[in-house]
Symmetry: C2
């Protein structure tokens, strides 16, 4: 289990490897060299070999990598070996969209409940999942062994939700509210700040020449 200190840069590339290896498998490609993978994924061959060797020697000299094996190894590294129970907090547009994203389930993320403060939403069913009252969040998490929560509230409500989740011993938070949460360091958190990404786009739109016809 070699994970002394993997850099964030490497970790952030792992899902992309996983995605491209799946594509190769779907195309019945069973063997690939770092050079050829480099051509399609866009990282240098050297970087690919360095990245993979953080976790073990998956390749074979003179041959390359077995696509299926490597795909499964990376899946294991990413923790796709057991299901995680999840909840969505905030049943607005984004919360509903994520609830309907069935592909999360394919990766083992099992949506157990959706929570909202709005009494008009409580009792509804979204994508085969019940919407519950926010008051019941803590008890539900403990009872159903929920490990991961998606926060889809607005900016104002996010920290309070986070506090309740921590109180209920959540392990990870996927935060879609445009605010940085204050959390104990043992909580795993990943932020999706859409506005930040949009502003990055805006920066480059401004930079690039307008005309090109």
């Amino acid at each position: 289990m070699p994970d002394n200190k993997i850099s964030m840069a490497v970790i952030k590339r792992l899902p992309k490897y996983h995605r491209y290896l799946k594509d190769l498998l779907d195309k019945d490609v069973h063997r690939i060299s770092s050079k050829e993978l480099s051509r399609i994924i866009g990282f240098t061959a050297s970087q690919i070999r360095q990245d993979l060797n953080n976790f073990g020697g998956f390749g074979q000299q003179g041959y390359g990598y077995n696509v299926e094996d490597l795909y499964h190894e990376i899946g294991k590294i990413l923790g796709l070996t057991k299901p995680y129970n999840t909840v969505i907090v905030g049943a607005g547009n984004l919360g509903q969209a994520l609830a309907n994203y069935t592909s999360f389930g394919d990766y083992g993320f099992k949506l157990q409940g959706i929570f909202d403060i709005n009494p008009r939403l409580v009792g509804m069913r979204i994508s085969n999942t019940d919407v519950y009252d926010m008051e019941d969040l803590g008890a539900f998490i403990k009872e159903k062994n929920v490990e991961l929560a998606f926060i889809c509230t607005n900016k104002e409500g996010a920290q309070d939700v986070a506090d309740r989740l921590v109180e209920a011993d959540i392990r990870g938070i996927w935060n879609f509210a445009p605010v940085d949460l204050n959390l104990p360091e043992e909580i795993v958190v990943e932020n999706v700040h859409l506005i930040d990404d949009l502003l990055t786009l805006s920066y480059f739109l401004k930079e690039k020449p307008e005309t090109e016809a």
Copy 2:
């Protein structure tokens, strides 16, 4: 106009500065030092000064930075000086959620239309915006001077949509489909690969100790 070669690392931090400066303004804080900003934003004071000095000397020795000025300067750097016309392609759950995200409008991103192949969706109105047939996408973009498109289709449809957008002289693409698009390099692109972020979370959930009670 000092933008010789700003590194991606710096650019990706700009939206966060913008966000925190807005918070400070809302709290009636009008002056801040790099040291104090460091405390709240989490970058080192040195990094803050380095970052800002890529774009000009916005501070004053012995005083610090004027929050309002800095906020507006960063807004300008991010290109928030003129509105951008946008379209959403794909009126599924995510497309609808983004259409309802009114805060994009506050930053100057004006949603002009939503496009879908599904004839049952065409003609609907989502968040005050009409849903049009995909066939009309190219003509619409040219007619309405649309510069930015959000791709919210599935993986399979995304490249075809991208090709049409490029053909219609789009300038930027915000891609939510879980695939890397093949685009001419003058097109500005920002990917939101939710699955990748979720797998990163999964990686750390696996790494961190399970117990903590």
